[in-house]
Amino acid sequence: MKVLIVDDEPPARNRLRQILADCGDHEVVGEAGNGREALDIAARTKPDVVLLDIRMPGIDGIETAHHLNKAETPPAVVFTTAYDEYAIDAFDASAVGYLLKPVRREKLIQALAQASRLSGDVLDDIGKQAGVATHRKNICARLHDELRLIPVTDIYYFIADQKYVSVVHKDGRDLIEDSLKSLEEEFGNRFVRIHRGAVVAVDAIDTLRRDEDGRTRVMLRSGNSDDELLVSRRHVANVKRRLRKG
């Protein structure tokens, strides 16, 4: 099996590598010190299993697992943790593979044998029970094998054209695999639906304007003239309400 090791502490990674070397029939395809690196390496090496630490700087283990899930063939995830009492309860409740550090060889072998893919719902559950943020802080866009993480705070809006959803952000525009509906649900506290095909960051909205035809348009702070989005009639009231709330 191809295994990817993710932990921000070098000794913890070494230890897992040593044990895996002992058992023989697993190949370590990479090591990552944080969530972003893990996603890059996973996209390139397509591991079968990812051993994932939970407490990591930047993108933590739970969010990393969410992103890993978006791959075409997502790897199985086994969490490793030293002592997160709430998380452990959550894993038990959701029957997810986890290993306690220092990891025992038998436990690791057992976990690898049983490793299964986690559904997004299970991750959400764990996040909720463990009191970790349940929504992602980044959106993941894929260009062939390259992976781009876009911080949610940099995003102006999501727009659906025909089949695909694009995300328009500070540094450009990317295609993503999420659906508008799921995005709206996940980021409802920050974003607002203005149209059947568009969800906009409330913070990115500068003003609402009526055009010559009497239709309402959203002017974005980015100042780009392309960035005037139509607000459909049935969403106008809601958009205004959200803007007043700030």
Binding site: D8, E9, P10, P11, A12, N14, R15, Q18, N34, R55, P57, G58, A82, Y83, D84, L100, K101, P102, V103, G131, A133, K137, P151, T153
Partner: protein, 349 residues
């Protein structure tokens, strides 16, 4: 957390509604009555005198207990000394009221003979005698409640010191590091085990309330060495403490838990790590220690994490120095900083 602490330590007054308390109060009241009767002892009148005084004192005691039972929750809110002042005033008013009623009653039944004084003199006498007795009683209750309170505070801080011993998270991570080093770098693993043992020992010995700054800083340095193995370059600690008198006392296990907090909530969550800065100075005969660390700003910090260690440290400083010490926390988006200020005290002084 804070609130429940307050509730436990705030019971200044005894529970006047409890049967046991009432019994003790009545016994004491009767003793006072006997005492007063003995003062003017003459074989003929002793028993009449005693029953008169007993009747008055017991009525006062019962009435007073009843009223105090009712107003106790309110009186508690008036602060420590305030609660007892309230009780004193209430009891005095009751006493004068009772004295007045007694006077009126005896007058009505034309038996003023039992009271051999004028109206004013009678009230004055009662007032003076009761003031002394009630003041003594209140003083006694005040001191015993203070004593109870300090015992409670001390045992609480003992317990929380035990709880705060070392975060399990740290212990297991260190074990993991050592397990890893055992193969790759046995010598380092050996040192780490020694360090961990020293740290545990320092923690277990922490039952002594205070240690010298030198010992405290050494414990913190050992802790830093272990964390350094795990975090590598990400952890930097700048110690600017050369000006501190190393013999001065500090509540034990203050610096190390603060450093632990700084790492757990700050450095560990920063991709590039960061710098914990500890500065110590002597200002006007007081020690002034500041520890600050960067924090990840985009992360919604979970409340509750820091509180445990901080409230523990606050408690122990209050116990050791009362109002002469201050423990302050300042928090911005990018920095967390703790400021301790307390008097310099050296062992044997």
């Amino acid at each position: 957390m804070q609130e429940s602490d307050d509730k436990q330590t705030q019971a200044y007054l005894p529970d006047f509604c409890a049967a046991g308390t009432i019994l003790v109060i009545l016994l004491v009241a009767e003793l006072v009555a006997i005492l007063l009767a003995l003062v003017s002892y003459t074989p003929d009148t002793f028993l009449t005198e005693l029953s008169k005084i007993s009747m008055f004192v017991l009525w006062l005691a019962l009435l007073g207990t009843g009223v105090l039972c009712q107003i106790r929750p309110w009186a508690e809110k008036q602060g420590h000394a305030g609660a007892f002042v309230v009780c004193f005033v209430v009891l005095e008013i009751l006493c004068l009221l009772l004295a007045e009623i007694t006077w009126q009653l005896t007058d009505m039944f034309a038996e003023a003979v039992i009271i051999d004084a004028t109206h004013a003199l009678f009230l004055l006498k009662t007032f003076a005698a009761s003031s002394i007795v009630i003041a003594l009683a209140m003083r006694y209750l005040y001191i015993s409640s203070e004593w109870r309170r300090s015992i409670l505070l001390e045992s609480q801080s003992r317990i929380s010191a035990l709880q705060a011993l070392i975060r399990p998270h740290f212990l297991f991570n260190s074990m993991n590091t050592i397990a890893s080093l055992t193969r790759s770098n046995p010598q380092q693993a050996e040192e780490a085990v020694e360090d961990l043992a020293d740290l545990m020992r320092a923690n277990l010995n922490s039952s002594s309330d205070r240690s010298t700054l030198k010992e405290e800083l050494e414990t913190a340095a050992i802790y830093q060495r272990i964390e350094k193995l795990r975090l590598g370059e990400r952890l930097k600690v700048i110690w600017d403490v050369a000006d501190l008198p190393m013999r001065a006392l500090i509540p034990s296990l203050t610096i190390q838990p603060l450093l632990e907090n700084a790492i757990y909530h700050g450095i560990e969550l920063l991709q590039e790590g960061g710098e914990v800065r500890v500065t110590g100075k002597c200002i006007d005969g007081r020690l002034d220690i500041r520890m600050s660390n960067p924090v990840a700003n985009e992360r919604a910090r979970k409340a509750g994490g820091n509180q445990m260690a901080m409230s523990n440290i606050r408690q122990r400083f209050e116990l050791a120095y009362g109002h002469r010490a201050s423990v302050e926390v300042t928090e911005t988006d990018s920095e967390y900083s703790v400021h301790l200020a307390f008097p310099i005290e050296e062992p044997g002084k």
